[in-house]
């Protein structure tokens, strides 16, 4: 019996070893073949991409594999270039049906496909509407990708939705949302819309952080109102943001906020720093 067990273990281990060796060999062989194919496709696609970015209306190749290779490369490149090159690539992708393909991809079963489709769609269309439902996608990575892509596309109208996603139970991290809003680059505090009146202080904190970082002067009334919030973190962030915005008109609101603040607290430090930034320094009490 003991011989049987030892024998079975030996045979199973030997079989598994041989199997693994065969699989490793097969994987290496397929990697070599795939790499060669990619190289070949790349050399075929590169001149066509250069023609497209030069403004030529290159027809989609008749061969399905070549067409897919060109489309995939153009879709990847459209995110990496700027200006006229990007406009030419986006125009070519739109003319060849990639916008519609991206729209279909937003409903794909595979999360990675939905995310890639959202990125591509936002590179080809100014209206972020069709991708906004993905902000509550079941897959966290899809939600994060969509938020980033909205930021990269400069979708200022989507900012309230991005902030909302940052405070939703199934949303995105505050860092992701804040970075996306900064990337979107709103020029006015009005881009945050209803966020300034949100009942959730986390949403207003994010708006205060970003407005301060971007130095949005018209955010001042919202930030001064936030100094009177019941949420200490929001009050602290608002003080920091007012310091960054740098309007001397905020000195009065900051001095009023300083009156009731706990001595030695982070909030007091933030207000004192903000006053110092506004050329109105006060001594710590």
């Amino acid at each position: 019996m003991r011989y049987d067990v030892a024998g079975w273990v030996l045979v199973a281990a030997a079989g598994a070893t041989v199997l693994l060796l065969v699989v490793i060999t097969a994987v290496r062989a397929s990697t070599i073949v795939a790499n060669r194919r990619h190289e070949r496709e790349r050399s075929e696609v590169l001149p066509l991409l250069l023609e497209i970015t030069d403004g030529a209306d290159v027809p989609l190749p008749g061969d399905r594999r070549a067409a897919r290779a060109l489309g995939t490369s153009a879709a990847a490149l459209v995110h990496k270039v700027r200006g006229a090159d990007r406009a030419d690539l986006a125009g070519w992708l739109r003319r060849n049906g990639f916008r519609e393909e991206a729209l279909r991809g937003l409903r794909a079963r595979r999360p990675a496909r939905r995310a890639a489709a959202a990125e591509l769609y936002l590179a080809l269309d100014d209206d972020p509407g069709p991708v906004l439902p993905l902000l509550s996608d079941t897959h966290a990575r899809v939600r994060a990708t969509v938020v980033r892509a909205l930021g990269e596309a400069g979708a200022v109208t989507a900012i309230p939705a991005i902030v909302e996603a940052a405070v939703a139970p199934r949303g995105v991290s505050t860092s992701t949302a804040a970075m996306a809003v900064v990337q979107a680059g709103p020029s006015s505090a009005s881009a945050f819309g209803p966020v300034w009146d949100s009942a959730d202080p986390r949403a207003r904190r994010l708006a205060a952080d970003v407005a301060g970082h971007l130095g949005l002067a018209d955010a001042r009334p919202h930030l001064e109102r936030a100094l009177r919030s019941e949420d200490q973190t929001l009050r602290t962030r608002a003080a920091v943001a007012l310091g960054r915005v740098g309007s001397p008109l905020s000195v009065g609101a900051l001095e009023t906020a300083l009156v009731g603040v706990v001595r030695g607290s982070v909030e007091e430090r933030a207000i004192l720093d903000a006053l110092a930034a506004l050329d109105s320094p006060r001594e710590a009490r």
Binding site: V9, L10, T17, V27, T31, K80, R148, S173
Partner: protein
């Protein structure tokens, strides 16, 4: 049945059960790791890293570099760090009582001048700092010169005290990071507010070609000692850490490349200066602190970012390193013994720590004792040679299987060794390893564990570096 026969029989039975349990757990880890990596690779290259690089809100990173007699590699290492593709990087090099030209090389190359730095006194430091310098050519580069107390952790703490960025990246002085490594390993902190620590893959750099501190061509070296370590690192990182991370039960983030939220490390008081396994000690300490506070958190492992490090090329140096690591692990398990098997600490308490006790701490003793008894049984005729041969054959094949599984994961995922002969070399090393390295390693681990039990003293390891081939 005689007494000797009974001892041999029961020992064999215990060994069979023990190895069966080990291999079942290992297969589970391979499966988890394979699934985690495959799922990661299913995602196409998206905009994520480009946007992180371009965004002014990306968290800053202080890279902490403890250096003790590192004159051979320090210049290449710092040059590579200065070229990292990341928006906000501060580099804090700590010259920990070097007797060679480590500090002088940096001072000359980067125009370092004396400067006063603000220190965070929440982190204690034993060896006194006698100079702090900042580079005139690269203002983000700081050098701290301090007296050595013989512990890497004290050097890291000295760096931590002056680090100013939100995240701290701990590496070794000979670590060479891929240019995008920080972008990769920072991403989990951006994507998930709960992430407090992240580690990346570390692989041996011996035999590879380097240009301006960056690996430009990877190859498996001819030296069997180094080749075997490549295999070990693939096993440990691609299988072990990916697998444990997928269950949020990661015990170790390598000291050669790990990223942490600075505030969390500072709240812990920095690294334990008495620990020889300060990297694992930090991670387990974080697990304990966060669970005791009832806070949700994650410690993650990123399989893609790579840090290359020079590993020992001789058995003598390797033996010292492994004994020290093993001693450190033994001390760590004793320090955190109350967490072992404690469901309060979730996966780490009920799975990872018991695994390390059973297979890392006790393992070497069982192997050495088991081998002695099996040999005795074989020589005395109480263990039939056919059975001894079958079990020996099965043990060798099972050990090789673990390594081959790691090679397969590497081939399927990243294929970082492009030459065909490299794969062949890894496969032959995997088949050879159980015949020689396995026994040596078990012995070194056993010695380290005995030192841990005796509470022996141990300091910085002496690592003779050969440097790299420059292109």
């Amino acid at each position: 049945m005689t007494v000797l026969e009974s001892v041999v029989w029961w020992t064999t039975a215990v060994l069979v059960v023990y190895y069966l349990a080990y291999n079942v757990l290992y297969i589970l880890l391979v499966a988890r790791a394979g699934r985690a990596i495959t799922s990661e690779l299913a995602w196409p290259a998206t905009l994520t890293r480009d946007l992180t690089f371009a965004n002014p809100l990306s968290p800053g990173v202080s890279v902490l570099v403890p250096a003790h007699n590192e004159e051979v590699g320090i210049l290449a290492a710092v040059t590579a760090l200065l070229d990292l593709r990341y928006p906000t990087v501060e580099i804090v090099v700590v010259d920990d009582g070097s007797s060679d030209r480590t500090a002088q090389i940096l001072t000359d190359a980067f125009a370092m001048t004396d400067v006063d730095l603000t220190t965070d006194d929440r982190v204690e430091q034993e060896g006194a700092t006698f100079a702090t310098l900042r580079s005139r050519s690269h203002p983000g580069l700081v050098l701290v010169r301090k007296a050595s107390v013989g512990r890497r952790s004290d050097a890291i703490n000295a760096a931590l005290r002056v680090a100013t960025q939100e995240l701290v990246c701990m590496i070794d002085a000979d670590s060479l990071l891929e240019s995008d490594a920080l972008l990769h390993v920072v991403q989990p902190f951006i994507d998930d507010d709960r992430v407090v620590a992240a580690g990346g893959v570390v692989l041996p750099s011996n035999g590879s070609r380097v240009h301006r501190g960056r690996i430009v061509s990877t190859r498996i070296p001819r030296n069997l000692v180094v080749r075997t370590q490549v295999l070990e690192y693939l096993r440990a990182f691609l299988v072990g850490r990916s697998g444990w991370s997928s269950m949020n039960g990661l015990l170790i983030i390598s000291g050669a490349f790990g990223l942490f939220r600075r505030e969390i490390v500072v709240e812990l008081g920095g690294l334990d200066p008495t620990s020889l396994a300060e990297d694992a000690d930090l991670v387990v300490g974080i697990h304990r602190m966060m669970r005791d506070r009832g806070e949700d958190f994650r410690v993650v492992f990123q399989p893609e970012p790579v840090c290359w490090t020079e590993v020992p090329a001789t058995l003598d140096v390797l033996a010292k390193q492994r004994k020290r690591w093993s001693q450190g692990l033994g001390e760590l398990l004793w320090k955190y013994r109350k967490m072992i098997g404690n469901p309060r600490y979730r996966t780490l308490g009920v799975l990872t720590l018991p695994y390390f006790v059973l297979f890392e701490f006790i393992g070497p003793f069982i192997e050495v004792a088991g081998l002695a008894i099996v040999v005795t049984g074989f020589l005395s005729g109480t263990l039939p040679w056919q059975m001894a041969a079958m079990y020996a054959g099965a043990s060798v094949l099972l050990a090789a299987l673990g390594s081959l599984a790691a090679v397969l994961v590497e081939e399927v995922s990243f294929s970082r060794y492009p030459r065909r002969r490299d794969v062949l070399s890894l496969v032959t090393t995997a088949l050879l390893e159980p015949f020689w390295f396995h026994f040596l390693h078990s012995w070194w681990r056993a010695v380290g564990m005995v030192r841990a039990l005796r509470g022996a003293d141990s300091g910085w390891g002496v690592m003779t570096r050969a440097g790299h081939d420059e292109e």
